[in-house]
């Protein structure tokens, strides 16, 4: 899902996309327009590599801590399906993650510090709003 092979090679060489081209792309804002996706990026920022299974658990757990209730197996598998068919393809499409569909592994793409900062601030703002 991460686009053509040569593009991802280019990205690893350049370490990150130029900030201006990223901030001008609708895909970037679409990718960030959903809370689960912002949380996912934030979580990946603090870990080397994750798996789809782990991300389903983390997003489910995150939700559970916000609501103070038990997330069921069904709740988690709904998130798992959303990850596979919506969140991960979108984030990969916006070059925010490296997603290996076959291995089920996910890594944060090299991001400009300002992009990292936007993700951090949005997630922390939501955490704060949720705890009020």
């Amino acid at each position: 899902m991460g686009g053509p092979k040569d593009e991802s090679d280019y990205r690893t060489q350049e370490t990150e996309r130029p900030l201006s081209s990223r901030l001008a792309a609708d895909r970037f804002y679409n990718a960030l327009s959903e809370s689960h996706r912002r949380r996912l990026l934030y979580y990946l920022g603090g870990t080397e590599e994750s798996t789809v299974e782990e991300l389903a658990s983390v997003l489910s757990g995150w939700e559970a801590t916000m609501t103070g209730t038990m997330h069921t197996a069904e709740d988690r598998s709904a998130i798992h399906i959303q990850l596979l068919h919506n969140h991960l393809p979108r984030l990969a499409d916006a070059d925010l993650i490296d997603y290996d569909v076959d291995a089920g592994t996910v890594q944060l793409a090299p991001l400009h510090p300002r992009v990292t900062e936007i993700i951090r601030q949005s997630v922390e703002a939501e955490q704060l709003a949720g705890s009020e």
Binding site: Y42, G46, G61, W62, A73
Partner: protein
């Protein structure tokens, strides 16, 4: 069924808990690890979600819940599954894990605290049958005041088992079973059937090994029935 085979049966349940957290393990993680549950941990980034735990049975996720929420559930008065109408599988397994859990290395003092919980519940319900073994009847000496209240202030039918190394005073509602066969000698056991309300059933089986106790406690009437049967 013997007390030992009951302990082995509970030990075989294949449950794991993964705790996602930052820094030191939360109390519940340490508690579970100390009580025979397979526990792993993963680290969460700073500023991310509050700590939470994922519960699995035979490698299938049955529920995910915040550590805070678990600790609230465990703050007395404990709301058990029977007190809820919309109980999910995750809660059921969580409670079963917490209350039908094998423990080891428990001290007599900790065991007394758990015993008190079972006695308190029997007292609150005030009816039904409570069976206890404190290994020897002389151990029962320090429990006389508690059992006098249980026997005289409720309609409970109480049976006290133990090696007959001491003759306890008669208490209304309490029947003593002095056991010379050492069948109960190594075991600290309580079984309360819940009386009119089977969801209140609870029990404890502990085997003394050295100065420490190994065993389990249970919060479901089926297990309590098995414990009761092992007395006979």
């Amino acid at each position: 069924m013997t007390f030992t085979s009951l302990i082995d049966e509970v030990r075989e349940k294949n449950r794991t808990v993964t705790v996602y957290r930052r820094g030191d393990p939360p109390e519940i993680e340490t508690w579970l690890a100390n009580h025979g549950v397979a526990v792993e941990s993963r680290s969460l980034p700073v500023g991310g979600p509050d700590p939470f735990m994922e519960i699995k049975t035979d490698d299938e996720v049955v529920g995910i819940i915040g550590v805070d929420a678990v600790e609230q559930l465990l703050t007395p008065p404990i709301r058990r599954p029977g007190d809820r109408t919309d109980i999910s599988e995750g809660y059921r397994v969580l409670f079963e894990m917490l209350e039908q859990t094998v423990f080891s290395g428990m001290t007599r003092r900790e065991l007394l605290a758990v015993s008190r919980e079972i006695e308190d519940r029997a007292f609150r319900v005030g009816d039904g049958t409570l069976r206890v073994s404190f290994q020897t009847l002389s151990t029962f000496r320090s429990q006389i005041a508690v059992y006098r209240a249980l026997g005289t202030e409720t309609s409970l039918d109480i049976h006290v088992y133990g090696i007959g190394d001491w003759t306890p005073p008669p208490i209304a509602g309490v029947t003593y079973h002095a056991d010379e066969a050492l069948r109960v000698g190594a075991y600290w056991v309580l079984a309360y059937d819940g009386g009119p309300d089977a969801t209140q059933a609870c029990g404890l089986v502990a085997e003394e090994r050295g100065d420490e106790y190994t065993g389990f406690w249970a919060n479901d009437s089926a297990t309590v029935e098995h414990i009761t049967a092992a007395f006979d």
